[in-house]
Subunit: 295 residues, 2 copies
């Protein structure tokens, strides 16, 4: 044990290291304890951590479109994957952040272990990983659009402008963002997106068919390479017998394909808008990268 | 002094009250101290605070459209206003929260003092106060629109959908929100908002005239009671010699008036979008309440 001197009293402290753990004992009198913590313990811990910092690496993989429990199942034997390292599942309405913490024998070992774990995770759930660390999905989509010289137009109903807001949060968005329509009313859908009123009545505004027609319409009207559209019931009002709160359809249209997909989100209006916008951006990402949905 | 019994050791604690202050002494051994805090001090403090809680009132007045320093100047002699009570200025990109903390002789006295302070603040800067506590400006505007049975359409350039997103965050927004256009390109402004292309070229897309024409156009095209529009340079790119980053024009049009106003915000793209959306919502509020701008 190392003795920690007490400059304000008689009882000393002790610092003991055993099996990679540190045990510290201090006197109970607050101002004596405090002085020893600030004068000795914090400086020694800081030094110790800085020596070890290259041995510890933290990296986040950002997923979207798969619930935490499915992700966990998909990763299989977690102990086998991690070999004693740590993996945290951090969910939000935008997806699950997988935070890997690796502690190696040295810096090289840590780097190698991280690479192995990341590769194994990507092999199992790579299609859901849109970025790392502090990436946003709008940044990722913006970079894909800019790289390929593509333009996009947006038709929103339930999200009320949020998809466009996120696509235009990225600096330089006028390179790819052409225009957007928030067609809250049926009249606006018919007038601006050229959706056949009979089809709108037949299927209802919240339907797979209308989502696809909105994406097709906004692409045609705007003369862009891509059209993206969302229609759904955000709540708390607006549900019908067969269309519950949280039901959302997202449409995507480019030169190769016009498609739509159903999503089922939750009860909270604001979270539903966030989740719908994320699913719409992810549909753009998947289509641009040629990643098909599994279900 | 009251003796605080120590159930785990020998040294007792003491509780002394003097001049409205409480002095507590406890033994230095952590687990003894902890037990006395959870077992005696926290319960007694809780009881004491609940007796006194009606003597202390906290209320926030939410302002927007006036910088903290101007607000401070406008309020005049703060000591005279407060009579020993507290006023915190809490600024964000959405405005300045004025948090009043009053401590009275008793509950009635506290209530009276709060009323006096609030009335004096409202007399001086009332036009900038849009709500209290946790109100949002979109809630306030939504209530005004619903109360008067008015519909609104939105034409956005620089905000990229954020004004519409905020107006549709309120549950039941389809009562007043009809449709929105995000006319990022000049082509979209001409095509959907019916803006004369010659005027667009003459004044430039970021101008007082075009903001007014956008508001007028979106109201006419949508057949709503109100049109609101924003055009500006959010940064970091897009500035020209005479149009710096942060320059914004907001247009408003209803059955009585078609007008526009210039704003100068800052350098940060995301904050500029927030501030522009707030100024646009505030322009709706001011026009509906008949509150003119001072400058």
């Amino acid at each position: 044990a190392d003795i920690i001197r007490n400059h304000s009293g008689t009882a000393p402290g002790t610092w003991i290291e055993k099996d990679g753990k540190i045990f510290i004992s201090l006197p109970g009198v607050p101002f004596e304890m405090k002085e020893m913590i600030t004068g000795y313990i914090i400086p020694r811990l800081s030094e110790k951590l800085s020596v070890e910092k290259n041995k510890r690496i933290i990296k986040s993989l950002l997923t979207t479109g798969i619930p935490e429990s499915f992700l966990y199942e998909r990763l299989g034997d977690i102990e086998e994957l991690l070999h004693g390292n740590a993996l945290a599942f951090l969910p939000s309405q935008f997806g699950v952040r997988l935070r890997i913490t690796v502690i190696g024998e040295d810096a090289d070992d840590a780097e190698n272990q991280l690479t192995r774990i990341e590769q194994q995770i990507r092999a199992k759930v790579g299609q859901y990983i849109f970025g790392t660390e502090n990436d946003t999905l709008e940044d990722v989509v913006a970079n894909l659009l800019i790289d390929r010289g593509l333009t996009i137009a947006v038709a929103e109903s339930c999200t009320g402008g949020l998809i466009s807001h996120r696509l235009t949060n990225v600096s330089g968005s006028s390179k790819y963002y052409e225009r957007g329509f928030i067609t809250y009313s049926n009249g606006a859908k018919v007038e601006h997106l050229k959706i056949d009123e009979d089809l709108l009545i037949k299927y209802g505004a919240v339907s797979l068919e209308v989502a696809r027609l909105m994406a097709e319409g906004v692409k045609a009207v705007s003369g862009t390479d891509i059209g993206i559209a969302a229609t759904g019931i955000m709540g708390p009002t607006g549900a019908t017998f067969d269309k519950p709160v949280g039901l959302v359809y997202i449409g995507f249209c480019d030169s190769k394909i016009c498609t739509a997909k159903e999503f089922r989100f939750g009860d909270d209006r604001i979270l539903n808008k966030d989740r719908t916008s994320q699913a719409a951006l992810d549909m753009i990402r998947r289509n641009l990268l040629g990643i098909e949905y599994e279900d």
